[in-house]
């Protein structure tokens, strides 16, 4: 079904191209056929999210009684007074640790997934993920420097954020200077910058073996130090970045036919790419700065959505946001219960589930 759709899309655009070459453009952006987001798919995604949030609130090593948790949640609704159910300490476990952790997991997961979808759209590359242009390597170096030096007072999240933005800016400058702004040259510049930053990060880490554990813990990703502070830090970035990405969903659909074709259709491919990359990068950098490096969410979620619901970015972007949030909340439930009362790094969980899943996706891709 989806293959017929894409052939139809291609044929229509080929026609568009020849029309442009021969006569004044009669084809406009609005003529690029796309699937609409069905209420059913959106409903399913939100159901998944609701289930994930419920699991996230109910399961944890502290073993809060489910009835007590529900009691406390109802009590928190304004206008309803239903005291009792949980002790003071249990209440603080719920409200100071579990709830912010679920919220943060949702924000980070949603951000990584929608950013991954955005990158895949602008680079027309199914392997693109939010770390493609060096976000992870830059953030890793920033965080490591903050951990091993006196920059700690400056804050690990801020250092990671700055590192991530610097790395992507370098990628953009190098890619457009030496490669003439093609997406392939940007990706290659990203590979080079990421390798360089990773080398520096490894060097710094190696020179300060006494902080190895903390650096390592950060690199593997975690939501466990999450409190409301982290939520407040990330929320504005996720909100703005997601809004910008969602606003570009139609333009990303047009870009799927190729940048030259899109240009012929009046879509400024370069400007769309810059806007999407900036939004996805800032959002990802903010997410990574509080959670460390969580892999595979940005690749697995958009592809799942693509396979199950359709390949239009009007479907992929919003659904990735919701499904990504649900996915990371579920991964975090695994992270904090699998070896309870110990913690698994959440990056290990997402990669453990994500890597085999990714192979399935690749197989489906190859079968087409």
């Amino acid at each position: 079904m989806s293959s017929t759709r894409s052939t139809r899309l291609m044929r229509r655009c080929d026609v568009g191209d020849t029309t442009v070459a021969a006569a004044p453009p009669t084809v406009t952006v609005r003529d690029v056929p796309v699937q609409r987001l069905s209420p059913r798919a959106l409903g399913a995604a939100f159901t998944l999210l609701a289930g994930a949030v419920t699991a996230g609130l109910l399961f944890g090593p502290a073993g809060l009684p489910a009835a007590g948790v529900l009691h406390a949640l109802v009590d928190a609704v304004p206008g309803i007074d239903l005291p009792g159910g949980l002790s003071d300490r249990q209440l603080s476990i719920l409200w100071q640790l579990r709830v912010p952790r679920v919220v943060l997991g949702g924000l980070v997961g949603g951000m990584l997934a929608i950013a991954g979808a955005g990158y895949q759209g602008v680079f027309r590359n199914p392997l693109a993920d939010p770390y493609l242009l060096g976000v992870a390597a830059g953030a890793g170096l920033g965080a490591t420097l903050a951990i091993v030096t006196d920059l700690r007072a400056f804050g690990i999240p801020l250092a990671a954020f700055v590192g991530a933005v610097v790395a992507v800016a370098m990628t953009y400058v190098l890619g457009s200077r030496f490669g003439g702004r093609s997406s392939a040259s940007l990706i290659l510049a990203g590979v080079a910058v990421a390798a360089f930053f990773t080398a520096m990060q490894t060097y710094v880490q190696q020179r300060h073996a006494d902080t190895l554990q903390e650096v390592y813990g950060w690199l593997l990703g975690r939501l466990l130090t999450a409190g409301w502070n982290d939520v407040r830090t990330v929320l504005p970035y996720v909100a703005v970045a997601s809004a910008v990405l969602l606003a570009h969903r139609r333009l990303l659909d047009v870009l799927t036919v190729g940048s030259d074709e899109a240009r012929a259709l009046g879509v400024p491919a370069g400007r769309v790419r810059l806007a999407v990359v900036v939004a996805a990068t800032l959002g990802t950098a903010a997410a990574v700065s509080v959670s460390g490096l969580i892999g595979f969410v940005g690749i697995v979620v958009p592809h799942t959505v693509r396979l199950l619901a359709g390949s239009s970015y009007r479907i992929i972007l919003p659904l990735s946001l919701v499904v990504g949030a649900a996915g990371l909340i579920i991964a975090d439930v695994v992270a904090r219960t699998a070896v309870a009362p110990g913690e698994l790094p959440i990056g290990v969980v997402t990669a453990f589930v994500g890597a085999p899943f990714f192979l399935v996706v690749l197989r489906r891709w190859g079968a087409r």
Partner: protein, 330 residues
Amino acid sequence: MTATQRRASRRHVLVGALLSIVLAAGACTTSPERAAPDADAADPAAEPGKSADDVPAEGDYPVTVGSLEIDRRPERIVSLSPSATEMLFAIGAGDAVVAADEYSDYPAEAPTTDLSGFQPNVEAIAAWEPDLVVASDDLGDLAVSLEAVGIPLLLQPAPADVEGVYAHLADLGLATGEIDGAADVISKMQAEIASIVNAAPETDEPRTYYHELAPDHYSITSSTFIGEVYRLANLISIADAAGETGNPYPQLSPEFILDADPDLILLADVACCDVTAESIRQRPGWDTLTAVVRGSIIELDEDVASRWGPRIVELLRDVVDALDTLDAAV
């Protein structure tokens, strides 16, 4: 660079010695085993001019420490383990230590260098012309490489408990000819630990503690070395439940820590990570913890808490003192 020159000349001697072995073996079928002592004699580190009479009393060399045979009293020791450095100085063998690794910062007179115990560079170690290397771990083929250049290596891995520390001290005493010095340190430690433990408040139930290694809640179980030290004062770790999965250094869920509500909080991440008794109060939900309310939080010297040297006595004393104030608060 004299060190480089020394290394270069040393290598020439070694090559020469190897050549002579090969030539001797080829020419008159002398077995390499018989030729080997000659090669040793040509080694400048062997100091052939020194007679056995010059060796101070106490240690009669050669001595055998574990599987390691030491021919003469070491005079140029390289320590790649901060714990070993502390022990060597404590037993009176500090004068023989010519170089210590980058983290050997105690005692102050320890000759700290940029040698690494994690990524040992055998050439850099050999440049010190050591006649004994002490290390805690055989990382990066250290043992094989040192054997290849003929430098004896005494491996002293992390001990399981305080008895293991005494064994390490005794071994170091034997190896360095400071047998009496080592025995003194051991008996002093035993006496002090006994008096601290005797003075510790009696409790029916063991007290619980949360020992924090890093701000993201890495902790220790009671079966680690430090855990065994705490156990002397009838303390057990809340992380023991997580340790059942086989990891003695588990990362704990913050909500589990709140739920477990330990009697004591021991911070071993003060210097590394700016964690303080005050800053953990700010963590979400932690203001409800009994230990935080009572102020039963100890900011540990993380060097002391991560090494196995004579200073563990101080660590134990600090913790037991905190137990006393805990009882006063009840």
